[in-house]
């Protein structure tokens, strides 16, 4: 297991290098630069800016400089947020995104899994239709509709919860964003869990288990649950990486200082270093999450072993 883990981590290095290279050059191919704004700059001042950020050097030299700094763990200074390094921005924003995203995933699992199981067990009944109908709505209604609606109803009209703001992570400030983030995930997880549970319940070994005279509860918990969780688990890897790196929509609407907005803002501002930083960070997280999922797989499914 340890050997396997190490091997996977080593394999990640060339993967990351490819990701970095593609992202670096794609970013530079995009038209428009970090200093193209409403007020176009006098040539002398633009030249000063380009020199200050080494943008006047040949591209290969900038690439080499970037890789050199990266090896030393230095993502460079942000072009847009000049008083901070990219590392500082990510390190300040990530705990917030992780907290919100992690809790949203937990909430999604706590609600989505039971709903999926119940729908599967009560297949083609009113309960099933209700759960699946709601799930469909949860998937269909986008975040940018749910989030302002929650803020309007609970923040402005009822005034039960803050309409936005982070307030250093006070619990009331976290509730609405967590719910808004969790709703589509609950829907996905419930649907996925229902489908895989139905499939597992139809398999031969479940029939055997029932034939042994086990109660339905025992059948579900001891025999069906683990295999039914497999598809959800493989979905969770990339999903978690996506959610804990923040959502630009949720962050903008609730004013949460996470890192989700850096992905979009960085690209729109042509903040080259910030974009690279977030890409490297996200890439590394995906690699890590996929590895964790594969390890959990072996725990869930006895047929999967990574000993060799």
């Amino acid at each position: 297991m340890l050997k396997y883990t190490l091997k996977r981590l080593l394999q990640a290095i060339p993967t990351m290098l490819v990701v970095i290279t593609i992202a670096f050059f794609l970013m530079r191919v995009a038209p428009g630069g970090p200093f193209d704004g409403e007020r176009s700059l006098p040539p002398q001042i633009e030249a000063n800016l380009m020199a200050a950020y080494h943008l006047d050097e040949p591209l290969w030299q900038q690439y080499a400089r970037y890789l050199g700094n990266l090896v030393q763990g230095d993502f460079g200074p942000s072009f847009k947020y000049k008083d901070f390094t990219v590392t500082e921005l990510i390190m300040q924003g990530f705990p917030v995104s992780l907290e919100i995203g992690g809790l949203a995933i937990l909430l999604a699992l706590l609600v989505g899994l039971p709903l999926g199981v119940i729908a599967a067990l009560r297949r083609n009944t009113g309960i099933d239709y209700t759960v699946m109908g709601l799930a469909l709505a949860g998937i269909a209604v986008p975040n940018f509709v749910i989030a302002p609606l929650l803020a309007l109803v609970f923040g402005v009209l009822l005034q039960w919860l803050p309409a936005g703001g982070w307030n250093d992570g006070a619990l009331p400030n976290m509730i609405l964003p967590i719910v808004a983030l969790a709703v589509p995930q609950i829907a996905y997880i419930a649907r996925m869990m229902r489908a895989s549970m139905i499939e597992v319940l139809g398999s031969h070994y479940i029939r055997t288990a029932r034939a042994k005279g086990l109660t339905e509860t025992e059948v579900v918990w001891r025999h069906a649950m683990r295999p039914a969780l497999l598809p959800v688990t493989s979905y969770l890897g990339p999903a978690i990486a996506g959610i804990i790196t923040g959502s630009v929509v949720i962050e903008q609407i609730f004013g949460i200082p996470g890192i989700g907005r850096y992905f979009v803002q960085g690209a729109l501002n042509r903040d080259y270093t910030l974009v690279m930083g977030t890409v490297v960070f996200y890439g590394a997280l995906i690699v890590l999450m996929n590895l964790i999922v594969d390890l959990i797989y072996s725990a869930l499914d006895p047929q999967i072993r990574y000993d060799d």
Binding site: D36, Y81, D83, P148, L161, G165, P257, R261
Partner: protein, 546 residues
């Protein structure tokens, strides 16, 4: 860093579950979250996250709003946006208008060190240093040696700024410059604490920064908020009513509106979503602050040979057929002024030049436009094909679509090209367009900012290929003319030359739209969109203190 982060790092999965349960139970039990405690801290929805708090590296009003609260300049803005003495108590201008002598008041940095003329010299040298890469450095080019320093040809020592003694500063100009003192009120001209900056970087962090203004920086959480507190060392500390200000980074206007309605914000600088403007007008009339802004919304025209737009008749026809009031009144409806001019009318000493046909009835204008296009060889059989580039924003799209419809009856086929902002401005800079949407917002309350853009070497001149030596001469002379009446004439003549040649398609003068709660006192809408927060107070605070 914060205790919050600490606790999070230690959090096990079980802790997270417990926390989630707690979150859920709190959601059920919480009925009212009250955030409206009577403190004299002003809550400001400040728009975007500042890119920096270095007053010489800031570039947007969401940044300068904060740096101007932290740093006094030689001259400050008064509540109505005019200039008033700041760190300089008074100043004299020599007979020839080329030598300014400023007398600095006795004032202290927030760490108790005296503010001296040397700090002002240091700051002006630094703003022109190419390594500072200041965006507005060209506003200081009137100073002797400035242009050469900014080009890296000579070092800062040769700048025509001298500390005659601790409290006397002399600035020498290459030629008299009517708007020069305006530039000294800008954030980038603020004297800086040389004793701090010379000793290290990261000086803009809370706990490190030393400032001269009514407030000092106490906390900065990126993408969240910035706290400032009253500066006990400020020379006019007794006149500062607020204990502090929290600047919240809220970019989304709809979220800002929600939080303003929920009472979280006293002022919202994030604007109002255009779709919600009517609602706000109806339900929050006492909070809605709409006022003229020194900004011009226009379409730039690429004048280079080889396109139909090089023909004056074509450009005049386009200008004739533009129904500006339809755009301002029916499409936008938030009080913008249709503009028949280029320099916004809210500017101090605004000229009264305008497009020649401004007062014509629509039928006459359309007939004339048709005639001009016909003369230029365009008509139903030979339609005029043009392209219009604009940056992604719903209002820009609506205006573009409406204008295409206005021109269609003349047989003009307008191709609309929508690009994201960075790409749009790059294509404008590279002159790769026929017509391009553009907005110019003033940095100083003066026509110069606008006129200079079309003078040789100016940004608009470079993009459009406009070149007119007589115009350049008028702009130069207007800049150097100190007599207000004569200056207004020169500015007017320069602008009229642009308009007579139909060099651009003016559309409207901008307005500023802010939300200010009725209990906020001492705030007023100004054309430069500056609102010095040292004069602001909260009504509740007065009630409790008196």
């Amino acid at each position: 860093m914060s205790s919050k982060d600490m606790s999070f790092r230690d959090m096990s999965p079980w802790d997270m579950i417990r926390r989630l349960a707690l979150t859920a139970s709190l959601a059920l039990s919480t009925t009212v979250i009250s955030t409206t405690a009577a403190s004299a801290t002003l809550q400001v929805g400040n728009g975007a996250e500042p890119g920096t708090l270095d007053p010489q590296k800031v570039n947007g009003n969401w940044e300068t709003r904060i740096t101007r609260s932290l740093f006094d300049r030689l001259l400050n803005y008064a509540p109505d946006g005019s200039l008033e003495p700041g760190l300089a108590e008074r100043w004299e201008v020599s007979e020839d208008g080329k030598r300014y002598t400023f007398h600095l008041r006795e004032a202290l940095w927030s760490d108790g060190e005296p503010i001296t003329a040397d700090d002002a010299v240091f700051a002006l040298r630094r703003v022109l240093d190419p390594a500072t890469a200041n965006h507005n450095a060209n506003l200081y080019y009137p100073i002797v040696g400035a242009r050469e320093i900014n080009a890296g040809k000579v070092d800062g020592e040769s700048l025509g700024v001298t500390a005659l003694d601790d409290h006397t500063l002399e600035i020498r100009l290459v030629e008299p410059t009517a708007w020069f003192v305006q530039a000294l009120a800008m954030s980038e001209a603020a004297p800086l604490p040389e004793h701090l900056l010379s000793s290290g970087t990261d000086w803009t962090r809370p706990g490190v920064m030393v400032s001269s203004g009514p407030f000092v920086l106490t906390d900065w959480r990126p993408q969240d908020h910035i706290d400032v507190a009253r500066n006990p060392h400020y020379y006019a500390v007794d006149e500062v009513a607020l204990d502090g200000i929290t600047f919240h980074a809220i970019e989304d206007p709809a979220s800002a509106l929600n939080r303003f309605r929920a009472g979280d914000l006293d002022i919202s600088y994030s604007g109002v979503p255009s779709a919600r403007f009517d609602w706000v007008q109806q339900h929050l009339p006492e909070s809605l602050q709409v006022g003229p802004l020194l900004g011009s919304y226009f379409y730039m025209i690429n004048l280079r040979e080889g396109t139909p737009l090089a023909d004056t008749r074509v450009r005049e026809a386009l200008n004739l057929a533009l129904r500006r009031e339809v755009i301002t009144d029916q499409l936008l409806g938030i009080g913008q002024t249709p503009s028949w001019w280029y320099v916004p009318r809210a500017v101090s000493g605004a000229p009264d030049s305008r497009l020649a046909f401004a007062d014509w009835p629509m039928e006459q204008r359309l007939a004339r436009a048709e005639q001009l296009l016909d003369e230029a060889g365009y008509g139903p059989e030979h339609p005029l094909q043009l392209s219009l580039a604009y940056n992604t924003l719903d209002d820009h799209r609506k205006i573009a679509v409406a204008i295409a419809a206005m021109w269609k009856p003349l047989g003009i086929e307008l191709e609309l090209i929508n690009r994201e902002a960075a790409v749009h401005y790059a294509t404008v800079r590279q002159a790769d367009f026929e017509l391009a949407r553009y907005g110019l917002i003033a940095t100083v309350d003066d026509a110069y900012d606008f006129l200079n853009a079309y003078a040789s070497g100016g940004s608009a001149a470079r993009s459009t290929g406009f070149h007119d030596e007589e115009y350049d001469d008028l702009v130069r002379r207007s800049s150097a003319e100190l007599d207000p009446q004569r200056r207004r004439q020169l500015v007017g003549s320069a602008e009229q030359r642009l308009l007579d040649a139909n060099v651009l398609l003016p559309i409207y003068d901008y307005v500023s739209v802010h939300l200010v709660a009725p209990h906020v006192r001492g705030w007023q809408s100004t054309p430069l969109d500056v609102h010095p927060l040292r004069y602001v107070s909260l009504k509740t605070q007065n009630d409790t203190s008196q």
